[in-house]
């Protein structure tokens, strides 16, 4: 059995589909691409596909991942074989969901959800200039704790998320506001960009949010589960 890891983007109109919707889209795409997926054993067999961290409905991404177990062994050069599967998948995926890279991985590695420690987010906010935004960011970073209210098992709990704000900066102006870049921790629970914005006083509302990277640690290095050569230009274009 082989495990294929796919890095894909989710941009444009399709960003309004849910994590669950995306899983179903992939299941159909794998069948349409006639890729021989391994199924779970048991009473009701399911295709062996695992997704990484969920992406909130409405957010874009150029760093989504899935691992899928295949019945077939790679033929010839592994990376050529994986790339060919990626092309087949890309052809049958809906507009806005694009395969960015593929590789075969060792099944013994940690699941994506366990391995990923942080994400880089690009956040656009309207109606704010860079000076004001920079002041907010500095204020936020100077705080010793950032308490957010979260619903957990039906109860509202307060949690300090300051340790998960790994980096935050204003990267520039947009047509109507500013763009922030944030590295936010995902363990033990992921800090979501909207939670961070809600902690700013007054709370900010994002015009758009895009996940740029997911990060894990290898030795002392921060690496991506699967690097993509470059964010494809297509991603920018599909934003209608």
């Amino acid at each position: 059995m082989t495990t294929l890891r796919v890095r894909f983007g989710k941009c444009g109109k399709v960003r309004f589909t849910s994590h669950r919707d995306v899983a179903r889209i992939w299941e159909r795409a794998l069948r349409r691409a006639e890729i021989n997926v391994a199924y779970t054993q048991g009473f009701s067999p399911r295709p062996r596909v695992s997704f990484g961290l969920a992406l909130a409905t409405g957010h874009e991404s150029q760093a989504e991942y899935l691992d899928v177990d295949l019945v077939d062994e790679p033929v010839g050069n592994h990376s050529v074989w994986a790339a060919e599967l990626g092309e087949r998948l890309d052809r049958v995926l809906p507009e806005g969901i694009d395969v960015l890279a593929t590789t075969t991985v060792d099944r013994s590695t940690d699941s994506l959800q366990q391995a990923v420690e942080s994400c880089t987010w690009s956040i656009e906010i309207n109606g704010v200039d860079t000076i004001q935004a920079t002041r907010w960011v500095e204020d936020l970073l100077s705080r010793e704790e950032i308490v957010v209210e979260r619903e957990r098992k039906g109860r509202v709990v307060s949690e300090d998320v300051r340790p998960q704000v790994l980096a935050l900066g204003v990267t520039g102006a947009t047509e109507h506001g500013v763009r922030l870049l944030a590295d936010l921790g995902t363990q033990p629970r992921a800090l979501r960009p909207v939670e961070l914005l809600a902690a700013i006083d007054p709370p900010l509302r994002a015009r758009s949010v895009r996940r740029m990277h997911q990060w894990m640690t290898q030795g002392s290095e921060r690496i991506e589960p699967l690097p993509a050569d470059a964010a494809p230009g297509a991603l920018a274009e599909v934003r209608a």
Binding site: K13, E27, R31, R32, N36, P94, E95
Partner: protein, 654 residues
């Protein structure tokens, strides 16, 4: 092209399930609008999840977009949160394909599958920025057309629609389009002119061209104003389904919808003759799709969509000639991995369970049967001729093959029903559980009960519906009795909703203001229990001097003019009346697919006939045929032709 997307994307994170509004389905068409092409907005007036899978709408979407003189896009009723957002921001209803404002189309065409959707029709028209009343619309406003089963009595909607279309849409939609395209090319000036053009198309009814007269508080007649307009509008029927292998590219949504699977219609029409069933009466005759075409549509559809489930759709699907072979070939389809086949509508007999066993190899979750009534006597009244043996052998067969849960559907409030009949429901359920004990430790049977609603163009169209109190009393009887039955679970449909459904299904034009009041008081999504509000309806009725007693609960006399007498589903009124008298005497009627024609009118009136591939009824039970079918049923019928050519299947009957 005008698109509202840039405005819409800014509000979509404020609403539930935003994927309802994005379109982008596989199979979606982005048409090029043009002054020479009539632009249709096909609307299903319920949520996207309910409306998207509708096959009728998808068929018309493809047929129209294939034409050089038409474009078609789709829309669905925005949920209440989205409707509020749209109104707050001054945004109109839009298509999901290109997010074009609804009012930029030439026609808003609604599929009406259920009466409780009527207020959503008004909601959609209003959100489009179009006056809800036809009389208030200008030539700049789009036309409003309705089709679907509710179009057989469109009188309650007469104030709001420009036209209603009766019957199969495949052919008539092109004829309507020619009228619309010509009207558009001429500058879309006069609405009366296009109304006359539409009324000249067979199958199209234009309410504003008819005068309604009353005698006291009873309807007297609906007659055309104009001598050129037909006195009776006849339904349209596609003679051969083989000519219409649609949808060719079933839409695959990005988000989860109901019936989220490939759907292939294997035949249309049903002549089992169940007297409560409007669908079985208005869609006659039976027209089977050739088995080869079914196989091709299944294989191509699975490959193209990536679905792992296909439903073979029709009424009573096991009646399809050679159903077992078609099911087997769908299951064996290569290159598609693990495929499951579902048959949403099944007869009650052991043969059917055999097919179900074949298709549910892996997951034996549950099996549903619909005996509809609790005693044989009442089943002869409704002509659902399932013997207790049929049911028990089906149930035994199911339990012995691994199912542990059954669901049984019943109606209460049927004509001539006594409490003995009502309680007979639980007797059947109890015996089913008992049969199951031989195979399982704790077998369970869910009894699902709905209140019977009389519908136009059925033998029960004259029947005074049970009152809400009576329906509640019957449900109460069942509830009390079911408490003592181990393994039996009872579920019931809200009797209040059945009453309003009944009000709308047989109403006349006096209901227009009632519907408008309910809608303007916020009564949308009445199909949804969380939104259904019976008080809105009863107070609007009172306001307009109407009563449930007169509109719903009253038996109609044989010579009383009915609001749909100027429309025709092909069925002779005297056939329906005779069938109603037969019902009251408990006389059954055979299925005319396999026995001689009794001239209901659906074939003879239109010069068409059944299209079925096999002249013998299916093996299994006795339902509907009155024959002993245990041997496969060699019933003497006259075969007109027998040819392997897919275009000339054996034609039986007439």
């Amino acid at each position: 092209m005008s698109s509202l997307w840039s405005e819409l994307e800014q509000v979509l994170d404020e609403v539930q399930k935003p994927a309802r509004y994005i379109g982008g389905e596989d199979g979606m068409i982005v048409p090029a609008h043009h002054p020479d092409k009539a632009a249709w907005l096909l609307i299903y007036p319920d949520t996207y999840e309910v409306g998207l899978p509708n096959q009728g709408l998808q068929i018309l979407y493809e047929i129209l977009n294939e034409r050089s003189d038409a474009v078609a896009e789709r829309s669905y009723a925005p949920w209440t949160d989205m409707a509020k957002v749209l109104r707050d921001r001054g945004l109109p209803l839009f298509s999901v394909d290109t997010h074009r404002p609804a009012a930029e189309f030439d026609v808003l065409a609604f599929n009406l599958a259920a009466e409780l959707l009527y207020t959503n029709l008004l909601e959609c028209i209003d959100l489009a920025g179009v006056p809800v009343r036809t009389a208030n619309r200008s030539p700049a406003d789009p036309l409003v057309i309705v089709g679907g089963h509710c179009a057989y009595n469109p009188e309650p909607l007469a104030d709001f629609i420009d036209a209603a279309v009766l019957g199969d849409g495949e052919e008539v939609v092109g004829e309507i389009n020619q009228v619309l395209a010509a009207w558009k090319a001429a500058g879309r000036r006069d609405r009366h002119e296009v109304h006359l053009g539409l009324a000249a198309v067979p199958g199209v009814y234009v309410p504003s061209l008819y005068r309604v007269t009353f005698a006291g508080d009873r309807l007297a007649a609906v007659t055309p104003h104009d001598p050129g307009v037909p006195e009776v509008v006849e339904k349209r029927t596609v003679a051969d389904l083989a000519d219409w292998p649609y949808p060719r590219h079933q839409l695959v949504p990005l988000t989860e919808v109901v019936h989220d699977r490939l759907n292939v219609e294997v035949f249309r029409g049903c002549t089992r003759g169940c007297r409560f069933c409007q669908a079985g009466m208005i869609t006659r005759p039976v027209r089977e799709r050739p088995a080869d075409q079914v196989r091709t549509m299944v294989a191509d559809g699975l490959k193209r969509t990536g679905y792992d489930e296909v439903a073979l759709t029709s009424l009573s699907t096991a009646d399809f000639s050679g159903i077992d072979e078609v099911v087997a070939s769908a299951m064996e389809d290569e290159g598609c991995g693990q495929i499951s086949v579902s048959l949403p509508s099944l007869r009650v007999d052991a043969f059917t369970v055999g097919i179900a066993a074949q298709i549910q190899r892996a997951r034996r979750t549950g099996l549903t049967f619909a005996p509809e009534a609790g005693t044989w006597r009442l089943r002869t009244v409704i002509n659902k001729l399932i013997t207790e043996d049929d049911l028990y052998s089906a149930v035994e067969s199911a339990y012995s093959q691994g199912w542990a849960r059954m669901k049984l559907y019943f109606l209460v409030g049927l004509p001539t029903e006594t409490d003995e009949d009502t309680l007979g429901i639980l007797e059947l359920a109890r015996r089913c559980v008992e049969i199951g004990r031989a195979y399982h430790r704790s077998p369970s049977v869910t009894v699902s009960v709905g209140g019977f609603v009389p519908k136009p163009f059925t033998p029960f169209q004259w029947f005074g519906q049970n009152t809400e109190a009576e329906l509640r009393r019957k449900v109460g009887l069942l509830r009390d009795e079911a408490r003592n039955l181990k393994g039996v679970r009872l579920k019931w449909h809200d009797p209040g909703a059945s009453i309003i459904e009944g009000l709308l299904s047989r109403g006349d034009r006096r209901l227009g203001p009632v519907i408008e009041d309910v809608w303007s008081n916020g009564g949308v999504f009445q199909e949804w229990s969380e939104h259904f509000d019976p008080k809105l309806w009863t107070s609007a009725l009172e306001q307009h001097g109407l009563s449930l007693e007169d509109q719903v609960y009253r038996h109609r006399a044989g010579d009383e003019p009915l609001p749909w007498d100027h429309l025709s589903a092909g069925l002779h009124r005297d056939f329906l009346w005779q069938d109603w008298r037969d019902a009251l005497e408990g006389a059954g009627l055979e299925d005319c697919r396999w026995t001689p024609c009794y001239d209901c009118g659906a074939c003879t009136g239109y010069g068409i006939e059944h299209v079925v591939a096999s002249a013998t009824p299916p093996a299994g039970g006795s339902q509907g045929t009155g024959q002993d079918l245990a041997r496969g049923g060699e019933v003497a019928v006259r075969l007109l032709t027998r040819d392997t050519d897919r275009r000339t299947p054996a034609r039986v009957g007439s």
